[in-house]
C-alpha cells in the first residue's frame, strides 16, 4: 500500500502538510508532496487521519501494482 495524492482532486487546501508535516510537505508548485510513501506504525495512523481530513478527498492508499 502506497500513500498517494490525486492531483486532479487536490485544491491546495494544505491541511495535509499543515497537520501532518511528518508525512507531507508543500512542494515547489504549492501542491503537496508525499514524504513517506509507506508509513508504518504510528505514521500509518497519521496517514489514515490525513486521508480522513483532506477536504477534497485527494489522499488515499493505493494498492501496489
Amino acid at each position: 500500500m502506497r500513500l498517494v495524492i490525486n492531483y486532479k482532486k487536490c485544491r491546495r487546501a494544505a491541511q495535509c502538510s499543515y497537520l501532518h508535516p511528518e508525512l507531507f510537505k508543500v512542494g515547489e508548485t504549492g501542491a503537496p508532496v508525499v514524504l513517506v510513501e509507506q508509513p508504518g506504525g504510528e505514521l500509518r495512523d497519521a496517514a489514515e487521519e490525513a486521508i480522513e481530513l483532506c477536504p477534497n478527498g485527494a489522499i488515499s492508499f493505493e494498492e501496489e501494482k
Binding site: 487546501a13 499543515y18 504549492g30 477536504p55
Partner: protein, 398 residues
C-alpha cells in the same frame, strides 16, 4: 460604463453591492493603500484604518500561502468590534491545535452521512415555499444553512431568525450602530454560554459537547475559545452558504439553456457550483497583518500594516482566468480562491458544497425551468466581507 471608483470607496455600500467594476478598475494598480475602515464608527478607532489591497491572483495566492508573513492574528478591531475568535483571527500554534480538533467534525465522510437529513430539510423548505413568485432568500437560502449548522452544533434550528440577526449584526461593521452590534454579539455569546453549561451537565452527539469535552495536550479549551468558535460557526456556517446558493440560482435564472443542460446531465452540477464560487465569490475579502517588511508585486508593505486579500478580485483576474467575466463550465477550477488556500482553507467547504449540490438537485428534480421574478434581485450592502442577495424573487416552472 463603469462608474469611476476611487481606492477609498472600497467599503462603501455601492461597491459592496457591486464590487466587480471596482476590481476591474483597481486590480492593475494593486497593491495600493486604501481606507479599509472609516473612523468614528467604533469606539477606539478614532482615525481611519488603512490597509493594503491585494487584488491580483498571484498576490492573493502568495499571501494566503505565506501565513507567517501574512498573519491572521493581531487584527486591530479585536476587542473593539468583535470578540477574539479562534481559527479565523488566529495563527499557529493555537490555530494548528484547534484546526486538528474541529476538522474532524467537517470531513467529507461526516458530511456525506448528513446528506439524507439535509436533503429532507431542503425538500421540506421547498414544499413550504409555495407557488408562483418566491423570494428564495427568505424562504430557503437563509433557513437551510442555519438549520444545518444548528443541527451540527446541537442547538434548536427553529429560531433561525434570531441567529440570522446575530450574524448580520456581526458582519455589519461599517453599516450598523456599534452599540446595537455589540448588544447582538453579547446576546449570542450568552446564548452559547448557556448551551455550553447544559452540555457539560448532559453531553449529546454534537459539536458543542465535543468542544466542552475536548482536551488538547491534556488541557480543556478555555471558555472564550468555545464561545468564539460557536459564534464563528454560526456566522461562517450561514451567511456564506446563503450567499453561495443565492448566487448560483441567480446565475441559473439568467441562463435557461444551462438549466436544461443540468436537467439532462447532473454531472455538471458540481462544475456549476465551482464556477459560481469563482464568478460570484460569497466571501469577497479578509484581513491579514504583515509580520515583517514585505514586497508584493514591487510594492513595499511595512511590518505591522493591515493587508486585505480580495478573493473576489483574484477569482476574476484575467491572468489566471481568461475572459474572467464570462460564466463558463470549461475552466480548470481547482485554482479558485473562494474558500481561500493554505492553512486557513474554509473549514466548512465540504458542507457548503454539499448544501449547494443538494439544493440544485432538489430544484432540478422539481422544476423544468426557473426565471427571475419581476422586481429582480437586491444585493446585500451591509457587509464588505460577503457578496450575495438580500432578496431574490424567482419563478419556478413545473
Amino acid at each position: 460604463m463603469d462608474t469611476i471608483i476611487g481606492a477609498d470607496e472600497l467599503s462603501t455600500r455601492q461597491v459592496i453591492s457591486d464590487p466587480y467594476s471596482a476590481y476591474r478598475q483597481l486590480r492593475a494598480q494593486s497593491p495600493f493603500n486604501y481606507v479599509d475602515f472609516p473612523a468614528g464608527k467604533i469606539p477606539g478607532i478614532e482615525t481611519p484604518l488603512r490597509a493594503w489591497a491585494l487584488m491580483k491572483y498571484g498576490d492573493v495566492y502568495g499571501a494566503l500561502r505565506d501565513h507567517e508573513t501574512f498573519s491572521s492574528a493581531g487584527n486591530p478591531l479585536v476587542g473593539k468590534a468583535f470578540p477574539p475568535l479562534v481559527l479565523i483571527l488566529d495563527d499557529p500554534p493555537r490555530h494548528t491545535r484547534f484546526r486538528r480538533l474541529v476538522n474532524k467534525a467537517f470531513t467529507l465522510r461526516r458530511i456525506e452521512a448528513l446528506t439524507p437529513w439535509i436533503s429532507g430539510v431542503a425538500n421540506e423548505l421547498l414544499d413550504e415555499a409555495g407557488r408562483g413568485e418566491t423570494d428564495i432568500v427568505r424562504h430557503y437560502t437563509i433557513p437551510l444553512p442555519i438549520k444545518v449548522i444548528a443541527r451540527l452544533m446541537g442547538i434548536p434550528g427553529e429560531d433561525y431568525e434570531t441567529f440570522k440577526r446575530w450574524s448580520d449584526a456581526f458582519l455589519s461593521l461599517v453599516t450598523m450602530d456599534n452599540t446595537e452590534r455589540m448588544r447582538n454579539i453579547q446576546e449570542a455569546l450568552e446564548y452559547f454560554g448557556k448551551m455550553a453549561v447544559a452540555r457539560r451537565a448532559h453531553g449529546a452527539e454534537d459539536l458543542i459537547t465535543a468542544l466542552v469535552e475536548a482536551e488538547i495536550e491534556g488541557e480543556k479549551l478555555e471558555e472564550w475559545e468555545i464561545l468564539g468558535f460557536c459564534l464563528l460557526l454560526l456566522i461562517a456556517g450561514n451567511e456564506t452558504t446563503t450567499n453561495l446558493i443565492g448566487n448560483i440560482l441567480n446565475v441559473l435564472a439568467a441562463r435557461p439553456e444551462l438549466w436544461q443542460m443540468l436537467r439532462e446531465n447532473r454531472g455538471l452540477v458540481e462544475t456549476v457550483i465551482e464556477e459560481t464560487l469563482r464568478f460570484e465569490s460569497p466571501v469577497q475579502r479578509l484581513s491579514r497583518t504583515a509580520t515583517r517588511d514585505v514586497e508584493v508585486s514591487g510594492v513595499k508593505i511595512p511590518k505591522g500594516d493591515l493587508v486585505t486579500v480580495f478573493f473576489g478580485s483574484a477569482n476574476r483576474d484575467p491572468n489566471e482566468f481568461p475572459n474572467p467575466d464570462e460564466f463558463r463550465l470549461d475552466r480548470d477550477l481547482r485554482n479558485h480562491v473562494a474558500f481561500g488556500m493554505g492553512i486557513h482553507y474554509c473549514l466548512g467547504a465540504p458542507l457548503a458544497r454539499a448544501e449547494a449540490k443538494i439544493t440544485l438537485n432538489a430544484l432540478l428534480d422539481r422544476f423544468s425551468a426557473i426565471k427571475l421574478g419581476g422586481a429582480g434581485g437586491t444585493r446585500q450592502a451591509l457587509s464588505s466581507v460577503v457578496f450575495g442577495f438580500d432578496l431574490l424573487p424567482l419563478i419556478f416552472q413545473r
